[in-house]
């Protein structure tokens, strides 16, 4: 609920309008995870974002940054959302330096637009589009990645520089436009996965990779979690350099481990033959398996889980999830990177809170025991209020202190993040 009085809101609207020109009333569609939004500002440049944030600060508005809105309901609902700061008008891919394998882009650019631009030179930003329609800013804010993280890592491994605007409207840059740089603090890392609670990202520079000439997928079916674990271990300890090692286990039916090999034509053929000899299964050129890289809740939104763990705990995590779901009488679909130790889970929207809580608790035990965590990324309102969605977070006190320094008035997406940050 907004507590902003209507007169204050009118004054704020006037200030925002002079800051960026494109200010509208929030519609029901703008609500952030059920929290109504009074105003939406769409600045067109970094200086306009700064003006908007200064105006918001002057008028005491809480602000939720938004890219393309595909993951805005992730995390906890904000305590309040007076203003949505929408960066979708900042959608330009600013510079593709093909010879240097870097790209500079505005935060509102679609990941697909970036890929199209750099793809024309046979290059790619090695961040898979896990959620269709994602912007660069939203991908960074939620630290989303996909299957190819096994070979090239995630946003933290690819982001070279950022331009951000602080809650007080100060514009700052960190990093740079070169692949190697240790000058100053790496604020880019701090921004990744911060869910819009620290600063507003307006521009980003990434390193790129060449698109390989060929690819092939080797798929092996499994019936039990232990088999998936054995397969994944065989694959990661082989010297075949997989680009991705995915596990996919639908709620009903057998699971599969898919291994993506990328490289030269001859190299990929030889490596996939060697892999089939090692683990069995089938090898298919070209097309990726159905559902590849899509989050398991993509087709049927429900409760969205993210499990992280040390690699060898894959079978323990898979079986904890499946066993808990079976005892709670709900279906759990699991899909993710067996090669990186990240598996996403989907529970149906109509699963009751007790069942969700039971699955979350069991999975969290398994993940925590394996040095990881279980986070409820998204879910129905009753799940978010009835389940510990973020779970225990080490060093939370230090994180709070970082938030207090950057956003002492708790203006940016208050309450959305870990520990109520």
């Amino acid at each position: 609920m907004t507590t902003t009085s209507s007169t204050r809101l009118e004054a704020a609207r006037a200030a925002l309008t002079s800051a960026c020109g494109d200010v509208t009333d929030g519609s029901p569609a703008d609500a952030v995870d059920g929290v109504p939004v009074a105003l939406v500002a769409r600045p067109a440049s970094t200086p306009e974002v700064a003006e908007v944030l200064r105006a918001a600060a002057a008028h005491g508005l809480t602000v939720v940054p938004r890219g393309r809105g595909t993951k805005l309901s992730w995390g906890q609902p904000p305590e309040q959302a007076d203003l949505v700061l929408d960066v979708s008008r900042m959608g330009a891919v600013l510079d593709h330096a093909a010879g240097d394998l870097i790209v500079e882009t505005q935060a509102g650019a679609l990941l697909t637009d970036v890929q199209r631009t750099v793809g024309s030179a046979g290059q790619r930003l090695s961040l898979d589009e896990a959620v269709p329609g994602s912007s660069i800013g939203g991908t960074l804010a939620t630290n989303m990645s996909g299957p190819r993280r096994v070979a090239v890592g995630t946003a933290r491994d690819l982001l070279l520089g950022v331009t951000v605007v602080r809650a007080d409207g100060v514009v700052a840059k960190a990093g740079g436009r070169v692949v190697k740089n240790v000058a100053g603090y790496d604020l880019g890392k701090l921004v990744i996965g911060s869910f819009g609670t620290l600063v507003v990202v307006t521009e980003a520079v990434f390193r790129l990779h060449p698109v390989p000439a060929a690819r092939q997928v080797v798929s092996v079916l499994f019936a039990a979690a232990a088999d998936a674990g054995r397969l994944a271990q065989q694959v990661v300890h082989a010297q075949l350099v997989p680009a991705a090692v995915e596990v996919d286990w639908p709620a009903d039916g057998p699971g599969a481990v898919h291994v993506l090999l990328e490289g030269t034509e001859a190299g990929v053929a030889a490596r996939s033959a060697a892999l089939v000899e090692l683990v069995g299964g089938r090898s298919a050129a070209g097309d990726l398996p159905a559902g590849w890289g899509r989050l398991p809740w993509a087709d049927a939104p429900g409760t969205a889980l993210k499990a992280t763990f040390a690699l060898s705990a894959l079978p323990a995590v898979l079986s904890a999830g499946r066993d808990a779901a079976a005892s709670a009488g709900v279906g759990l679909t699991l899909r993710g990177s067996a090669g990186a130790g990240v598996v996403y889970g989907a529970l149906p929207a109509d699963a009751d809170v007790t069942a969700v809580r039971a699955v979350v608790t069991r999975l969290r035990q398994a993940c925590t025991a394996a040095g990881g965590a279980l986070v409820v990324l998204d879910g129905p309102a009753e799940v978010k209020s009835g389940v510990d969605t973020w779970g225990p977070v080490p060093a939370l006190d230090l994180m709070r202190r970082v938030k207090e320094r950057f956003d002492p008035e708790r203006r940016l997406a208050p309450g959305r993040f870990v520990g109520g940050i």
């Binding site: 070169v178 190697k180 000058a183 604020l187 993210k306 130790g341 320094r405």
Partner: protein
């Protein structure tokens, strides 16, 4: 000012665009007397007598790191053996307002471990246990004082290695690597320390022990680990590191290629990268650097070469074979007159010996030299190399070039003879001008050696006041009193003001039942 600032040294790399006094990085001896005594008492209470050094002669052992031009004798040196001991000392520093500086093996090249005359030097060399090699998780957990190469040695029997390989890998420590975000020849393909450290146990500047990251990726919450790596000891001291182990490649091919000049070698590098080949390393040395290496280690590089490339390809055999053919073709196309493929580990080691010894080898051809560390976009390489050559000829200062060509990280070695009046100043001018060149080409003032005390004055050339102020918000969150390696990285410290909601936990030793409150 302290009388211990040595300007007499000529043995090591020399640099000094700003004297440490001018950065207020070193403190005054004799300051903090009572506070230092209190910290000393705590240190002696929690660790063995040999772990606390206050004797002036012994203290001088620690007066500099790899940037030997700057020397400051610390007031107190402690060598803790455990996290609890280290945390107790840091907590005492916090309580008494005493600055502290962390030091691993002391090989850093930017003065990041330059001690404080009014502070404590915390040396991690007695924390040298490799705690776990977890092959099944592709991770190792190690103490901060563990030597970089020892991680690889411990992992190799399991078919794994630790990828970041600074030239000093035989002596540099993982904790120091973490603080500096160290690179190495192979970061072109495998990335830097920040890509390979997945977790750390950190003693904060207030003496709290926190775990950041760990065996699993994507820990929920802010990625504090990512900010701590490369923060040069200004956000705390790492007491363990959880690192990624990389599977040993099926095949490695190391190629030494002679070119008439750096222009051809640079063009070949661009051709290789543009074709989508990603070698593990592409290193370049120019004629002067080759001459030095030959004099020092007799690496037998191609005679008459104006430049050599060391190209290393690794991975699955089927891919390496194909890439090798491509690289060979590009090199020949761009004027390579000699190609040598190392066919066994001994030959490979000899090729790398020339490159890895290059910095020290320059001592054979010049009594003094400055090691520079700047980064440019790779495509600017020919232009910047020509500009460096012009700088050199117009100033009469010789510059040897050794660098990571694949990622545009230059290490010009600026040669001079300090016994000649004005030579040191002329060399520093050229060295500074090279950094200006890097900045004007959109690059960075340091690619892997760090800012430390050495380049703090250059930070405002690369970043605005607002940029630096924003970075220091992180500093204020971790270290509101500014006692962790003060004077390094930032040219002007930020006053942090009151800490909102400051909370102090029970002392770790008290918590563990090991000690009463001090």
């Amino acid at each position: 000012m302290s009388g211990t600032h040595g300007t007499e040294t000529t043995a090591g790399p020399v640099l000094g665009n700003v004297a440490p006094e001018a950065t207020s990085a070193t403190g005054e001896p004799g300051d903090n007397g009572a506070a230092l005594e209190a910290v000393g008492r705590v240190a002696r209470a929690v660790m063995p007598v040999t772990g606390v050094i206050a004797d002036p002669t012994q203290l001088r052992t620690y007066e500099c790191d790899g940037l030997a031009h700057y020397r400051v004798t610390p007031a107190l040196v402690v060598l803790p053996e455990t996290t609890q001991q280290l945390a107790a000392v840091v907590r005492a520093c916090s309580e008494h307002g005493v600055p502290f500086v962390a030091r691993g093996s002391g090989t850093g090249l930017s003065g990041g471990a330059l001690p404080r005359a009014d502070g404590v030097l915390v040396v991690t060399s007695r924390m040298r246990t490799i705690r776990e090699i977890r092959r099944e998780d592709q991770r190792a957990v190690v103490d901060p004082g563990v030597i970089n190469l020892d991680v690889t040695r411990a992992a190799t029997p399991h078919g794994y290695y630790y990828a970041p390989d600074p030239s000093s890998q035989q002596i540099c420590s993982i904790g120091g690597n973490l603080a500096e975000n160290s690179g190495g020849a192979h970061c072109l393909k495998y990335g830097f320390t920040s890509n390979h450290v997945l977790g750390t146990e950190l003693v904060t500047p207030q003496g709290d022990v926190v775990q950041l990251g760990g065996l699993a990726p994507d820990a929920p919450g802010y990625d504090l680990l990512g900010t701590v790596v490369g923060s040069e000891g200004t956000l705390g001291i790492a007491t363990t590191a959880t690192v990624r182990l990389v599977r040993l490649p099926q095949e490695v091919r190391t190629l030494l290629v002679g070119f008439p000049s750096t222009d051809e070698a640079g063009a070949a590098t661009s051709a290789i990268i543009s074709a989508g080949v990603l070698p593990a390393a592409i290193e370049m040395m120019d004629a002067l650097a080759i001459e030095a290496a030959e004099a020092a280690v007799h690496c037998n590089y191609p005679a008459g070469a104006g430049a050599v490339l060391v190209v290393e390809l690794d991975g699955a055999s089927a891919e390496v074979e194909h890439e090798y053919a491509q690289v060979e073709a590009f090199c020949r196309e761009h004027g390579a007159f000699e190609l040598r493929l190392a066919t066994d580990p001994a030959e490979r080691a000899l090729i790398w010996k020339g490159r890895k010894s290059a910095f020290a080898a320059v001592g054979r051809i010049s009594p003094d030299y400055i090691v520079q560390d700047g980064v440019i976009p790779r495509t600017a390489l020919p232009e910047v190399l020509r500009a460096i050559a012009e700088l050199s000829s117009s100033s009469g200062v010789r510059v040897a070039n050794v660098f990571h060509a694949g990622d545009g990280n230059l290490h010009p070695l600026v040669l001079f003879d300090e016994s000649k009046p004005g030579a040191g100043e002329a060399a520093e001018k050229v060295s500074g001008a090279i950094l200006d060149l890097c900045i004007s080409h959109g690059g960075a003032i340091t690619g892997e050696h760090g800012v430390g005390v050495d380049k703090a004055a250059y930070m405002p050339k690369m970043f605005t006041d607002d940029d630096l102020d924003t970075m220091q918000l992180v500093r204020c969150a971790f270290d509101p009193d500014g006692i962790a390696n003060p004077g390094k990285v930032f040219p002007t410290p930020r006053l942090c003001g009151e800490v909102p909601g400051k909370r102090k936990k029970a002392h770790p030793l008290v918590e563990a039942g090991l000690a009463d409150a001090f």
